[in-house]
């Protein structure tokens, strides 16, 4: 096997001291790391480059653009975008569009970030997070401790992040857990990680739900080595959610149920409402 050093070195997760160059995108890999094949280059992303292909016909991100572009497509523009770029929601890749599909003749400049650049918007975070997890694995012998550290760090981030979120998003108070779920998935995740997970699997009592992340920006280019099978790589997210919700008077339990790093098809986070946190007045101040 020869490695061509042609891209992003992984956050060195496969082995802490060895540099593994990224496999070329397009090669399929039987180890199930399907992620690698989906990020294509060159990206259509520079500010003066061609605008976004309105190709994701089920993608909510671009749904509002559909009426704008209409159904008027042309072969020539379709050829331009045949190099598939997966839409940020991880939904239909453009290359799956039927061959007769037509693109509009003249694509107006897109004011939204292009599919490629949405990926980039979390790269620095992804890389730094990878370096952090690698360091923690060096410092702590077993995976459970690392998981706990990640959760604690996430909690510290969450209790501060909530203020920034409330200031920037201007959402009002949520009246029930369903509203909270919507805000988390559609506003918070979008704002900070550029993805919109879907909400499913509500419990009958309405106090538990699942967030399904088709693609998790934290795990781009990451593969779990065999000796870290019980590591919950993205555990920081659980801490962030727990900490942030605690600051708005909600005690929740957050955990990963499925993880693409462990071979599952999607990443699933289960959130369970425990109780409302009442403010405790100091003794004697009733």
């Amino acid at each position: 096997k020869s490695f061509v050093f042609c891209g992003l070195p992984r956050p060195l997760f496969v082995s802490p001291n060895v540099f593994f160059p990224l496999r070329q995108s397009g090669l399929s890999d039987s180890s199930g790391v399907a992620q690698l094949g989906r990020i294509k280059r060159p990206r259509l992303h520079s500010n003066s480059g061609p605008p976004a292909p309105p190709s994701c016909r089920v993608c909510p991100y671009l749904r509002s653009e559909r009426s704008f572009y209409g159904d008027f497509w042309s072969e020539r523009t379709a050829a331009l975008f045949r190099e598939a770029v997966v839409c940020p929601e991880g939904l239909i890749p453009f290359s799956a569009a039927p061959l007769g599909a037509r693109l509009p003749l003249a694509l107006p400049p897109c004011s939204r970030p292009l599919p490629g650049s949405q990926r980039e918007s979390s790269e620095l975070f992804t890389l730094t997070y990878g370096a952090l997890v690698t360091q923690l694995c060096k410092d702590y012998e077993n995976d459970e401790d690392v998981n706990k550290q990640l959760d604690k760090m996430g909690y510290n981030i969450g209790v501060r992040l909530i203020e920034d979120f409330l200031a920037r998003s201007n959402v009002g108070r949520c009246h029930d857990f369903r509203e909270t779920a919507d805000v988390i998935a559609k506003v918070a995740f979008k704002m900070y990680l550029g993805i919109t997970p879907s909400i499913t699997n509500w419990s009958p009592a309405g106090d538990e739900f699942s967030l399904i992340l088709e693609n998790n920006p934290l795990v781009d280019f990451v593969e779990l080595p065999d000796n870290h099978s019980s590591l919950i790589y993205s555990n920081l997210l659980c801490g962030v959610l727990r900490g942030a919700l605690e600051m708005v008077q909600m005690a929740v339990d957050v955990k990963f149920v499925q993880d693409t790093l462990k071979g599952d098809g999607v990443t699933e986070i289960r959130m369970r409402f425990i109780k409302r946190i009442e403010d405790n007045l100091p003794a004697g101040e009733e």
Binding site: E123, L124, T128, A131
Partner: protein, 162 residues
Amino acid sequence: MPAMADETLFQLLHTQVVAAAYGAGRGSGDEGLRAGLTVLEGMGFRVGQGLAERLPQGALAFREELDTIKFLCRDLWGAVFGKQTDNLRTNHQGTYILQDNNFPFLTQMAWGQQYLEEAPKFLAFTCGLLRGTLSSLGIESSVTASVTSLPACKFQVVIQKA
């Protein structure tokens, strides 16, 4: 370059990264401080290398060393911190000083001299980031940082001649 991470989230993560570098009983006192700084600089180095790999190839054909440093000041700073460095000085012999009067990782702490001792911890990652980016661009360097009064700081980049 488009912004590479939500700023607030990245700053909060960086604070936790600094805490992690000093956790796990790395020892206290000067030695512990230095060990932590080394860890942070190493992390920044790898992140910098990774970032440089993601840049569009056409943008990296710099004719001169000075252009590379200007790229750091403008584009890399813009992508990571959302702003540009305030001042760049050079002696035209391989030493460059990047000055930032309002460094994002230091703005949340008390301005002035109160936390002068703690400040290096929050600069080590960025030093590594610069060194890593330059290394990916084919330039070996050594990067140090100095603070006299928060939140202004200076990064000194010394290019190693082959």
